[in-house]
């Protein structure tokens, strides 16, 4: 059974269909990519899957359960995590606290014990901090453990978002342009990180403009254009699809971010 199934999904903004009658499925345990020209509806799709937007029509199911009507937080509880194209960092907190928020679903958040700082809460706090530290090391942020988030450079913040998402131990991780704005060295690091994450058993879905990265890591690619499915398959199949080539010729050639 597929992990994520999207059926006849449609989203309209004032008459404009950003996603139009789209259906596809994401299998467990692989790296998937969603590509397409600007305005193809990729980020809108992520917003629909995570519940930031409510679809105009259609159905989204995770593990066979219909999640179309669930709010974002409830979807997170079912194992969906994401990062953002425009960074959504908690700039009012330290780096490690950002990651600790990612642990939210695994914490004891009962109000009264928290207010009284009961031993159980303090224990949970400590273990959350430990886990957050591990994750920051995992994504390569060892040197930023004590930093305030607003003092960190862009590249580090992109990793911080990934660490925060991983802290929730997701079954499905959506990465929205993880390599955008990064230099080749940083992009290569992200490439390795994505593979490491996938290897640990998390299903990764990538929206990305960097075709070298996409073609290199993806087991499966979905191509969108005007909110509709243009093509689907392995890197090789997509690259040789004449429709995809035509769609991309309209703007820059594939491979340019």
């Amino acid at each position: 059974m597929s992990l994520l199934r999207v059926e006849n999904l449609t989203k309209e903004f004032g008459g404009v269909r950003a996603v139009a009658d789209l259906s596809f499925a994401i299998d467990r345990g692989r790296i998937h990519s969603i590509i397409g020209p600007n305005g193809a509806g990729k980020t809108t799709l992520f917003n629909l899957i995570t519940g930031v937007y409510t679809p105009t029509a259609g159905r989204i199911s995770l593990d066979g359960h219909d999640i179309t009507a669930l709010p974002t937080a409830a979807r997170a509880a079912r194992g969906i995590q994401r990062t953002f194209q425009n960074l959504q960092i908690f700039f009012n907190m330290t780096a490690i606290e950002n990651v600790m928020v990612g642990r939210h679903l695994h914490l004891d958040t009962r109000f009264l014990p928290s207010l009284l700082s009961l031993p159980a809460i303090r224990r949970a706090n400590r273990s959350a901090a430990e886990r957050a530290t591990e994750l920051m090391r995992f994504v390569g942020l060892d040197s930023w453990l004590d930093a305030d988030a607003d003092a960190m450079p862009y590249g580090a913040l992109k990793r911080l978002e990934i660490a925060r998402a991983l802290a929730a131990e997701p079954s499905l991780l959506l990465l929205d342009e993880p390599a955008a704005g990064l230099n080749p060295k940083e992009t290569a690091d992200i490439d390795a990180l994505i593979q490491k994450i996938a290897a640990s058993g998390t299903t990764v879905v990538l929206v990305e403009h960097d075709m070298k990265l996409v073609m290199g890591v993806s087991d499966h690619i979905l191509v969108l254009d005007y909110g509709q499915r243009l093509a689907e398959g392995t890197a090789e199949e997509v690259r040789s699809n004449p429709e995809v080539v035509r769609a991309y010729l309209g703007q820059a050639a594939p491979g340019v971010g």
Binding site: F84, L105, S114, L115
Partner: protein, 318 residues
């Protein structure tokens, strides 16, 4: 975590101030000012959770403060309830009201949220002004002494210790909450609602929670205020009182528990200092509000703390 020992240190320092301040207060008038400072500080600690930490706005918290105060006053004076029960009933009632209005209101953002809370506060003030049979109207009403069993809490010095204890308790609770998963969730929804929701934070639940908590803090402080001063007027519910609370929070420092305390102390003592200036006091008060916001937008405590820490910081945000 680094914050915990710092918070504990601050709490101990505050406790020391509470214990040693009486040795330098020359007479009961100063004790009275200290009591008011403490009660305002408790409101500010709660309000700071809402404004400073969770990033919401309330221009109507004087309404909750006054509801707590008048609940205590009316239930004890008109119905003869025991003071602790009246205080508790007030807090529960205010909590319920806050709970009911929180969800629809906290969907609003920015100026719309400001207007809605402002409107609520003013409605409370108008009702208190008009329901003269119950509240005494604009003339105010006298409040019986706070008593448990045979013991009556009267006199500025007695109240100094009661309020001092309550303040330390409030600071301790606030520090606990902030340093828990709940507190981080609140700060997260300030930083980015969508990211917080993605991390699994139930946004409406947490907004409601913090609104209710801050309202109950205000209500309890209001109840104590009513009994400490033994006299209550609708001015306590007014728009300017709400603004005063918010200004205390911002002046002392947003997202800083001790900031709320410092802001409350300054803005409670300041009018007493300005009392001698008569006609010019409004002029001076307005100028101070503007000046602080321009030159110390982050508030006193965070600005000073930053100077002391000298931690390198990049520009705020992208």
């Amino acid at each position: 975590m680094k914050r915990l020992p710092l918070g504990t240190g601050g709490l101990l320092a505050l406790a020391a101030i509470v214990v040693f301040l009486p040795f330098v207060l020359p007479n009961n008038f100063y004790f009275d000012v200290a009591v008011k400072t403490g009660l305002n500080a408790i409101v500010c600690i709660g309000l700071n959770l809402l404004i400073g930490y969770a990033g919401q706005i309330s221009l109507g918290h004087a309404g909750f403060f006054a509801l707590g105060a008048y609940s205590s006053a009316i239930l004890t004076a008109r119905y003869g309830w025991p003071a602790p029960l009246a205080m508790l009933t007030g807090a529960v009632g205010v909590g319920l009201i806050a709970f009911v209005v929180a969800r629809p209101i906290l969907r609003l953002k920015g100026h719309y949220l400001a207007m809605a809370t402002l409107g609520l506060g003013i409605i409370v003030a108008i009702v208190i002004n008009r329901e003269i049979a119950l509240t005494g109207g604009p003339d105010g009403m006298t409040v019986p002494a706070f008593s448990i069993g045979g013991w009556r809490a009267v006199g500025a010095q007695t109240w100094y210790w009661i309020v001092g204890g309550a303040l330390l308790l409030a600071v301790w609770l606030s520090l606990n909450l902030i340093d828990s998963g709940v507190g981080r969730a609140l700060r997260a929804l300030h930083g980015s609602e969508v990211a917080a929701a993605t991390a699994g934070v139930d946004i409406p639940r947490y907004k409601t929670l913090v609104f209710v908590v801050s309202a109950v803090f205000a209500s309890l402080a209001g109840s104590l205020f009513a009994h400490a001063d033994r006299f209550l007027t609708p001015v306590e519910a007014g728009f300017l009182r709400s603004i005063e609370f918010v200004t205390m929070v911002v002046l002392g420092g947003m997202a800083s528990t001790f900031g709320g305390v410092v802001g409350a102390a300054i803005l409670t003592v300041l009018p007493q200092l300005l009392a001698g200036f008569h006609d010019y006091k409004h002029l001076a008060f307005g100028a101070i509000m503007i000046g602080v916001m321009i030159f110390m937008p982050k508030g006193l405590v965070p600005s000073l703390a930053m100077l002391l820490r000298r931690r390198p910081r990049a520009g705020a945000g992208p």
